[in-house]
Amino acid sequence: MTIGIPELFLVVLIGPSGSGKSTFARKHFKPTEVLSSDFCRGLVSDNENDQTATNDAFAVLHFVAGKRLASGRLVVIDATNVQSESRKPLVQLARDYHAIPVAVVLNIPEKVCYERNAGRTDRSFGPHVIRQQARQMHRSLKTLRREGFRHVFVLDSIEDMDAAVIERKPLWNNRKEDHGPFDVIGDVHGCYEELEKLLAQLGYEKQPVDGGATVWRHPAGRKAVFLGDIFDRGPRVLDTYRLVRDMVAAGSALCVPGNHDVKLLRKLGGKNVQITHGLERTLAEVEAVPEVERATLQEGMRTFIDGLISHYVLDDGKLVVAHAGMREELQGRGSAKVREFALYGETTGETDEFGLPVRCDWAAEYRGKAMVIYGHTPTPEAEWVNRTINIDTGCVFGGKLTALRYPERELVSVPAAHTYCEPAKPFIPEGGQAPALSAQQALDDVLDIEDVIGKRIIPTRLHHTVTIREENAAAALEVMSRFAANPKWLIYLPPTMSPCETTGLPGLLEHPAEAFAHFRNQGIPRTVCEQKHMGSRAVVVVCRNEDAARKRFGVAGEGIGACYTRTGRHFFPEKGHAVQGEFLGRIQKALTASGLWEEFKTDWFCLDCELMPWSAKAQALLEQQYAAVGAAARAALPEVVAALEQAAARSEGGAGLLESFRKRAEMAAQYVRAYQEYCWPVKSVTDLKLAPFHIMASDSGVHIDRDHVWHMETLARLCHTDEELLLATPYKVVDVTDEASQAEGIRWWEELTGRGGEGMVVKPFDFVARGTKGLVQPAVKCRGKEYLRIIYGPEYDATENLERLRSRGLSGKRSLALREFALGIEALERFVRHEPLRRVHECVFGVLALESEPVDPRL
């Protein structure tokens, strides 16, 4: 006997002890597919035959079986299963996970069972036990189907058992090997004219077939996919049916059933159904067919509809099509519930003011990886929500007939020639105005906490997966929810930057030679050195106008953009909103003047910048820490020096001390001068300076495919249009394999830092560079001698201090920089791909989490 077992089945072996279940299971299934009650008894009690452990053993068995079914794996239950009450939970389990329960009964003569058991030393029950089990099994044979087993296979002898072959086959809805490309077409409802137009527009052609008939085919082999509701309501139902039927038969189309189609099938099968919602039109057309042909026609319709599969999983699982959509956990499964969902979706059980059932918004909750294309509910425009799209644009109600080209994700529509039918509920909003935000944007107004908290593993294109620990996510939640800007603006956060290795040159901690060596040692030949501005890192998102902000970012009433810090906080606090408006307005004007909107064919830009002065954002830090330390040092050190001077004049042994404290006093003065460089009062926007250094993204993409010289040059053009506010960053290209070029780079650094500059940032020539050890640091900073006083304290360059500071660990910071870089870029790429905000936010939140001190969220 051949036992056909499609994937996703729960196989329940039934037979008394000694009937050979374990042997049978071993022969036909992988060891991990078989769950044996004996094994589970052993797991919980150390004794496979301990009957007192039975309840616990089955709890374990059901738990493991559930986990396997949830992840779509076959399960074979190896237990006697001779009583209906022991099978009941297994059938329920299969239902819970939308798998199909199958019974395989090993109906072996009692004598054989008993003999086998007698030969075993670990089992001591007498023949009466087996007799009873065999009796229970025989009684079960009649009820198995009623209990819910979809297939029952009975093996009546040892010969049957030995001859049995298990054949594994994919489920009917599994067409993963079919890669299309596809043209998925929404609810046609007999709109034949529009369908022909649409097919033609999609490039399909009418081709002759045998017998003078024609069928629509695509010359390039594309396949149409009909989302059901072929019948009812429209003007030419039967023509539509024939067209679709012929395409399916010819292999140029797939079709899934809709609720109307299935209702028609029941009518054709003689069931008593209500003749409403357009069924009357179909029936009228059938009635109009000459009587001689009518029976054949009806039989053909029955066969066609009955043969339709509830939904399809296509293209390696990346595409799912169903009439009313499909939740992730139901995709590719087979159960009554799956079919139900495919046809009708889910409803809350309530009805709205038009008497229509209120639908559950499964798409809003959708988190699956597969794209789901569906129809069923007419909507004025097809809109993406969480990788799902409803393309029923109500052609029969006077809307349009829409197709989605896959994988291109292009929408193609043909307007309805007439309104063939009045919808119960007007599906085009009154006044014909589109809503302010798209469905996705409205959904994105509130993010779900489940998408950010807990341990998270985020795959990135640039740098494998990035793991965010629960403790870090918890810390980031507070910052994000209490201080950060509207998440819709936060499409990028910049990575941290590590310094170069320390130098051994006297009196110095950092020097460009080490930065050059860093890249050279990883096989990177060219670098771009950019002057490092001492301000605060700022991300500027700016749109062409408020309309663009609403359309692209889904933000209304918050101006044309945002300027935020490394931790996502508004640069200009709420009260300074007018300042932000003026500031962004200047940038917007500069973008216009430099022609960059047109050049990039975009209405928005995301720029990575430094905003100066440092004191603009760091005022509190300056007052509490930097200036305070300077004030304390200047208050104390001169007094010490004075005391030591007096003492040295009259006693022995104080001279060395005096010298050392004089030096310290001088260092303190240098420290104060160092930070003063980066401070100036800000009274209005004109006192600010913004130095953009990366054009991170625009509508034309994420610009990490362009090298840093391109970024510098393009931004210089922008900056020159408003030199009062914008500062073009000086840079130099350094060939790190060339001594003269490096010497030039070093000389430039000395000049910059000699003037009190912070130093420079050395980047690989290409934005994303891969070296001998994989992804290379996106940037390494090399800071000047005086500037470092602000970092390591006023006296860091005293010999005994410098010596110790030279040993510093960089690997932690560098690994962090790479992970944050990858996440930041991932966020932008997801945004540019128009993914739901939660997918962008996940990455941005991840950067913030990596930057946060972990807190223990377990309470």
């Binding site: 993010l447 200036a627 208050a635 602000i790």
Partner: protein, 467 residues
């Protein structure tokens, strides 16, 4: 970092004897955090000056494992004022380097050690958290004349204002050992920080060095509190033991208790009234399962969990730190399982949709919304009224009109640094009615606290009911 002591009692060079350090030399001493140097800028019959210079290793502070850890000042910072100021580091140096002098022992010249001498002191730089007034309040009762010079933060930027650092000069006629004890205790009190962990032993130190003067000091509560790093139990213990040593003055005790009550009542009143009003509104709704959104340290949770008619209480806050305090305050790990099961704390945020919050009868949102940026209110509204949608929402927020009644509040200022806005009654009403209309609730308003006829009550409360 610098302590200078001068005496003019002839022969002034006796100071060298008292300090046990030779006036002709410059000496250095190793300390765990660096060095201390002692030298004499002048040493004549008429006038002798000793200088104690603290030489803290700035890199060592950060780099040495298991090193000191301050509270107000993170010592993990390279850019740090500790090397330049008079702080608990200086106290340690005084006790190590001038140990004999502070104990009041002087071999051979005990009569000098026992005598009150004319002494002058200069300290640089002293971080005075509390300003010159506090500095005077500490030293003047001990008989010193005080001169203080405050340093500006940065001369180039006068608009940044003054720093908290002073150069301090004291003059008085006291025993040297008393002077050193005063400095030992009061320097870290001025700084309001310590570079080491403060435990039981610190109470002993305070009482030992405070013997004979602290019990009578009018600022003894503040001194004890700051010296013991605001740890209530330690402060209580120290003050109790100080009072024991004292001749009991029952009247004074009653006076101080009355003052305390007044203090407490001022804050108690509004807070307590607000919680009471919220509780009353929740009870009136008949809610059995209650959310406290933005529960903070759990004041409301405490009352909710005591109410037997409420079967489930969930407190949510964005701050893990606040939740930890709530957990401690509610003694969660010590509650009986039956009580424990009724109460749950969740870490979450008010701007994210959260399935864990669905299906409750009521939510309390007490003094929370004013901590949200106005543009984020929309997310909060949907999260609460559209997704969690409890039958009742009790929400309070300050009434900005009432701020005029707070005496020490400058006009235009909000009640808390983190308040992003405060609303007038009309603004609150408009917002609440808008929310109620959009999400299918009805709303009523109640004043909380004593109502002013024109300005209204200090706190405004809205009670939303789902229609």
């Amino acid at each position: 970092m610098l302590l200078i002591i001068t005496t003019t009692r002839r022969p002034a060079t006796n100071l060298g004897w008292l300090l046990h350090k030779h006036p002709g030399k410059c000496q250095s001493f190793e300390l765990p955090f660096g060095k201390a140097h002692v030298c004499y800028p002048e040493a004549t019959e008429e006038r002798c000056t000793a200088a104690l210079i603290l030489d803290i290793d700035p890199v060592g502070l950060v780099r040495i494992q298991g090193g000191p850890s301050g509270q107000n000042w993170s010592l993990e910072q390279y850019v740090n004022d500790r090397p330049y100021v008079a702080s608990s580091f200086l106290s340690v140096a005084i006790s190590r380097v001038f140990g004999t002098a502070i104990s009041g022992i002087c071999k051979g010249k005990q009569e000098v050690a026992d005598a009150a001498l004319p002494l002058q002191v200069k300290l640089a730089a002293v971080p005075c958290r509390g300003g010159e007034a506090f500095l005077r309040a500490l030293f003047e009762p001990l008989g010193y004349t005080v001169a203080a010079h405050r340093h500006t933060l940065d001369e180039k930027f006068p608009e940044w204002g003054e720093s908290s650092y002073y150069t301090v000069e004291l003059a008085g006629t006291v025993r040297l050992s008393d002077l050193l004890s005063h400095l030992y205790v009061l320097i870290p009190v001025l700084d309001d920080d310590k570079h080491y962990w403060v435990g039981e032993a610190e109470v002993e130190k305070l009482l030992r060095h405070g013997e004979g003067w602290l019990a009578d000091h009018p600022a003894k509560e503040q001194i004890a509190r700051r010296y013991l790093m605001h740890r209530h139990n330690l402060t209580r213990e120290a003050l109790a033991r100080l009072a024991d040593e004292d001749a009991p003055d029952p009247e004074a005790e009653v006076r101080s208790r009355a003052r305390e009550e007044e203090e407490v009542e001022k804050t108690l009143n509004l807070n307590e009234q607000r919680l009471g009003a919220v509780l009353a509104a929740l009870r009136a709704s008949g809610a059995r399962r209650v959310l406290d959104l933005g529960c903070g340290e759990g004041k409301l949770l405490q009352s909710l969990v005591k109410d037997k008619s409420i079967t489930e209480v969930v407190g949510l806050d964005a701050s893990v730190r606040a939740l930890e305090i709530a957990q401690r305050r509610l003694k969660l790990d010590r509650l009986a399982p039956a009580v424990r099961e009724r109460l749950k704390l969740l870490h979450g945020a008010l701007t994210y949709r959260d399935k864990r919050l669905a299906g409750f009868d009521a939510a309390a949102v007490v003094e929370v919304i004013e901590h949200l940026d106005p543009p984020r209110l929309a997310a909060f509204e949907r999260m609460l009224f559209e997704f969690a949608k409890p039958a009742t929402v009790v929400l309070t927020t300050p009434n900005i009109e009432y701020n005029a009644k707070f005496e020490n509040m400058p006009a235009g200022k909000l009640r808390h640094k983190d308040h992003r806005f405060e609303w007038t009654r009309a603004e609150f009403r408009a917002w609440a009615e808008g929310v109620a209309g959009r999400f299918g609730y009805s709303v009523r308003f109640l004043p909380v606290g004593t109502e002013d006829p024109t300005l209204g009550a200090p706190t405004q409360m809205a009670v939303f009911s789902r229609s």
